[in-house]
Amino acid sequence: MTDVVTRPTRTLGALLTATRGNGRLHWTDVFTYIYLVLGVALMFGPVVWLVLSSFKTQAGLQEFPPTLLPLGQISVEVEGYDEPLPLFEVTFEDGTVKQMAQVRRVGIMAQMVDPDNPEERIQVSINDREPIREMSIAWENYTKPLETFNFLTYLNNSVIVTAAATLITLLINSMAAYGLAIYEFRGRNAVMLFVIGTLMIPITIILVPTYLVVTQLGMVNTLWAVIIPGCATPTGVFLLRQYMLTIPRDLIEAARMDKASEWQIYWRIVLPLSLPAIAVLAIFSVMWRWNDFLWPLIVLNRSEVYTLQIGLNAFQGELNVQWHFVLAMTVVALIPVTVVFAFLQRFITTGIASSGMK
């Protein structure tokens, strides 16, 4: 118990006195910690606000100024009324305070009733009463879009696209990388040059012709249209090939002596040894595919094939935005990357820092 009490002070003290080593507090030390605290608030704050808001009821979201936590008004069952009535705290002229339920509101006056004495109705000015509230979490924000709207389909589509695209990407990229790393063959340098040269061709400049190709292949409005075109990533080939170059050739020669086929050498020797690089590419690919937006926006025009991102965009673009659903579904879209981030953060950051790619 004492440990819990003393630790924050110790760390806070260390935090404030962490100096450049000569004991004096330089202005840069102060600046550093102000910057870091503000930075963390700015980076996490909006996300926390989104998550908190996503649990509010529709009425709670319309409140201005907004409350921090999801609160809901308490309702009570009153004898003689079919519906539960909202509960208020009414201040009378003589200063007494009483909990009463509202029957109806007319202009600035409200008809109130005492739950213990349902016969008698009292007229109260709406300025003399305060709603009584408690924490109430609107789980229906999450369940309803999944049940009644198509969000379960969108979620499903996103998972299919991400999984299938990542598997295909890993397979064909690692095969190409293996071919380019292990063998000496005519045209290898040309292919390598080609891979590097096309590393930077973004989808933004070939939208129209790629759409034509996808249409000709009959893939428009199927998930294949999103899965296939992005699979042959030069980034992945390059990343894996650089890693495979470090694999000792003796291993491969030894396997050939043992009459292993080239496919077995690829599958049983080179792939297992390249696992760190493959993991980095797998994480990248999952991120790319889960977050993909512009290309799916173009080739997916029917709501049965929408991915989560496209579904969210369509839902927030409606005339009357149902923010309580939009916020909850945004949280759903955010969960997988956050989980990946929480567990593989170090892996991702070193992957990016060493390859300079995203």
Partner: protein, 343 residues
């Protein structure tokens, strides 16, 4: 066969069993693919195998990247609203001329295709502010994270987190904050100020477009700069400290010159990405109010795919223009990376 010794031993624990169960479809796939590859090897010999290994990737790549790159030109010199090239009449450079015609090139309102030119000007404004501010803040953040601070891993993770979020999520997070009844306006009202309708005002919309895209992407560039800072040999700093050099001087004389190659890489990478701005801003502002935050890629998207008459030719011509810009930037990037890696 000796290779069988390499294969994993029989599963023993429950997690091992689960892993084996999850891996078996992949194993099956590998076993199935082994058959055609063995067959090919028997017929063509080992010398031909690398071609078969790179073939699938090149096939995909050729079909969906290289081929489109050429078809793009075909689209840009033909007219009409048909998608299929055989049905499109040849119009020569008409699309390009249509895009380029302006009475006064500094005033988009006088252009025949004013949305295109507004897109260009908006993109130029966006790129100028976004790239310079992002590089500045990435540098400051990297310098701070490179200091001897506690919980560095946590702070680094915090600044990096938004990079992983999808553009739609990023835009919706901020849209929710910036709405008329959003929490930012509640703060303004709470301080006794007037509410601001951010998405009705062109300048505010542009400001938030820039702000949000910096928020979402800064962590990536911070990471590259941090790696660069950590590669600077510490004995240089020790020597400077022994000489009693002031920290400011250390920054200008040691840190910045040695970090400069990485800075250049970051600047060019940020430029390439910034010119193609679309996702976050499209969801955040929809290009509005009016055309205040409509950028080039949105022009291509709207012209080719989301307007009543799908003008593929015009969209293709605009993307050729964008492609040329990106090509120049990419050459710049290759030069900069090469210079950095040669030290």
């Amino acid at each position: 066969m000796a290779l069988d010794d390499v294969s994993p031993p029989e599963p023993v624990t429950l997690t091992d069993r689960a892993k084996a169960a999850a891996a078996w479809p992949i194993r099956l796939l590998a076993t199935i693919l082994d058959v055609p590859f063995r067959f090919l090897q028997r017929i063509f010999g080992i010398g031909a195998m690398p071609y078969f290994f790179i073939l699938p990737n090149m096939l995909f790549f050729g079909t969906f990247v290289v081929l489109p790159l050429f078809i793009n030109f075909a689209f840009s010199v033909t007219g009409g609203t048909n998608l299929f090239l055989a049905d499109r009449p040849y119009v020569g450079t008409e699309q390009y001329e249509f895009l380029a015609t302006c009475a006064n090139h500094f005033d988009p309102a006088t252009c025949r295709e004013d949305r295109f030119w507004r897109g260009i000007y908006n993109t130029m404004v966006f790129v100028t502010f976004q790239v310079s501010l992002m590089v500045l803040f990435s540098l400051i953040t990297a310098l701070i994270l490179n200091r001897d601070i506690r919980y560095r891993g946590f702070y680094r993770a915090a600044f990096f987190f938004p990079v992983l979020l999808s553009p739609v999520v990023v835009a919706l997070i901020w849209k929710w904050i910036l709405l008329r009844d959003g929490v930012l306006n509640a703060g303004l009202v709470g301080m006794g100020l007037e509410r601001i309708l951010f998405f009705v005002d062109p300048q505010w919309s542009m400001f938030w477009a820039i702000f949000v895209s910096i928020w979402a992407n800064m962590g990536f560039y911070t990471l590259i700069l941090l790696a660069g800072l950590q590669a600077i040999p510490p004995d240089l700093y020790e020597a400077a400290e022994m000489d009693g050099t002031k920290p400011e001087r250390v920054f200008w004389r040691i840190t910045l010159p040695l970090l400069w190659p990485n800075m250049l890489v970051v600047i060019v990478l940020a430029l390439i990405k910034s010119v193609q701005v679309f996702d976050e801003v499209f969801v955040l502002t929809g290009g509005g109010p009016g055309t205040a935050t409509q950028f080039i890629v949105q022009y291509i998207y709207t012209t080719g795919f989301s307007s009543q008459v799908q003008n593929f030719g015009l969209a293709a011509a605009a993307s050729v223009v964008l492609g040329v810009v990106l090509f120049v930037l990419t050459l710049l990037q290759l030069a900069v990376v090469r210079r950095r890696d040669q030290g």
